[in-house]
Homo-oligomer: 384 residues x 2
Amino acid sequence: MSRVGVIGAGHGKFGRRSDATVQELAFEAFRMAMEDAGIEREVLDASVIAAVPEYHKQRSVAGVVQEYLNLNPRPTWLTEVACASGSAAIRTAWMAIQSGLHDVVAVIGCQKMTEMETAEILALMGRVGEVQWESIFGTTFPGYYAMFAQRHMHEFGTTHEQMLAVGVKNHHYGALNPNALFQKEITLEKALESEPVSSPFCVYDCCANADGAACLILANEEKARAISDKVVWLDGVGAATASMSVLRRPNLVGLPSAEEAARRAYQMAGVTARDIKVAEVHDCFTVAEIMAYEDLGFCRKGEGGRYIAERRSYIGGEVAVNVDGGLKSKGHPIGATGVSMAYEIVKQLRGESGKRQVPNAGVGLTHNVGGIGQYTFVHVFKRD
Amino acid sequence: MSRVGVIGAGHGKFGRRSDATVQELAFEAFRMAMEDAGIEREVLDASVIAAVPEYHKQRSVAGVVQEYLNLNPRPTWLTEVACASGSAAIRTAWMAIQSGLHDVVAVIGCQKMTEMETAEILALMGRVGEVQWESIFGTTFPGYYAMFAQRHMHEFGTTHEQMLAVGVKNHHYGALNPNALFQKEITLEKALESEPVSSPFCVYDCCANADGAACLILANEEKARAISDKVVWLDGVGAATASMSVLRRPNLVGLPSAEEAARRAYQMAGVTARDIKVAEVHDCFTVAEIMAYEDLGFCRKGEGGRYIAERRSYIGGEVAVNVDGGLKSKGHPIGATGVSMAYEIVKQLRGESGKRQVPNAGVGLTHNVGGIGQYTFVHVFKRD
């Protein structure tokens, strides 16, 4: 079977981007990716846009981005699976290429979050939980993940300090990432003193809303090899779903969709968890990264707290995780996040990550969760 | 190249469905499609959901449908390109199968429109036009299409009576469709007397918002032949885009995206406009069907008014168009519409349309427009 390769990657600054509309954010990342690939628009056959439309005044996001990028009349489509929209877009681009329908496809994840007030966003996000029987009782996203955290503490003795150690690591690396929203280190002491949000979480357990965009250019094997001498191969595109309602999940200490998506992606790419040297995981809340270590098989269930405490997810440890700062320090423009994760893995696998470079990063993955785990997408990337 | 086949199709009642949530509407159509295919869930590998999320209280539509249909942990993704979301979903399902990633995929288009007030829907739809420079000045969907109508009248002498003849035809056939919102004939006289909306349009020029769902089961060629003896092949999946802003279009008498999508679909399927015997086209407003005749090549540009006046789009004419009632009489649950169109073509090509059956309908197409023509998807279906 032939492969799909990443031949270009671009990433704009994440943050409060009152200087740019969503299409301008998209263009910023697109231009960088096209320059990185060294191609002109003529080479492109189609685009896929990832965004969650309801946060924008401008709907029909795919159309407005397509026009601003001067890509008409090429086909476009938008994918939406909450915070995993970017990875779903990459997966449909993989399909488009592998099916023979298109040879070269641009994937653009873009989101403006700051057009709305935080309270309005929280209410809207609550509706991503099961409205009829669950989120109508007032569950918000921090509330949902705080339940995961409480249960993880109860079953495995995981501590809040271990969770905040995730935040400390991610801010450590985010301080080195010029695209990150927060480019500063934090200490465990400072994190523990931050304002409470939803027990056990305080502010430094939670990622921040941000505006931003990222872009990948994907191509079929023949064109990828012809165009680029630094192709990163997308060899596994795993996806899985789980119950919307956390009440119907088998437990609250992990995400069944993440375990299943990882199993599918590993199988497809012919790798195991032990092969992964660098990973971008969905740390929307600190406990989510701890659960990701376990769900992805980096350690056994229940050992995630110790995994971070022992710095096994730092550069130099077993798997370098979120060394771009993660959602926590980089910010979380929901439609862009999955593409942003893939951008970092591509740069790492090409050895272009400077001070944050993971040595010998031959195989990497992205782990992108939608909603409260009703969707997870795990993608595996390799160098030749 | 191997083919992708439709092995099952289901369609619920369109209308004010206060009896059902969006997931219940989805299940209704899904169950019919699965029974039609004669398969159990075990055969399914994935689902694609088409919906425009912002009309629902419940967001994360893919997740809530996936759970209600008992399809976890299979992959799912949602596509959104405004009113063409259903056709985009079918196109990504085609890719998923043709790429070898999945063998059998369910496509479910579903939408609740009646949770909102009509004025709220109009305002929201206005944002599907270009917000920064255009729809901020108050353009609504009827207003946009009225501009197309005025220009068509000006350039070609098309009359309002000819436009309303589209409505008369579509109500004629809709009266025979038990799934249609309006199951009654109208006369040209009655239509002309209906309340004005946006000149030249009156009420009977405009389609109606509705709740509803439709479902297709697609399979790769091997599985399709093994499972079904009435496979309808999806041989062309054309898509194209055009400027969001109508001000930047070359003219206002047709949709460039529709012409380009048709060209791509015909080429892919190896057919021409002359081969098409039955078509479902996007008659959100009566003039849209007239422009579709022209954009699809059923007649030359400017002849669309005469085409309907001479009943060439009736059964027994050159191409039977919208013989399920079209958006006009059937109703327009925006995420469901593209899948509903495909349902009708599948039934027609299988010879199962009863009183509305088009004789010798060997090749059919769907023409599904998103927004004000920034997206068009044209799909070509064939029997062996």
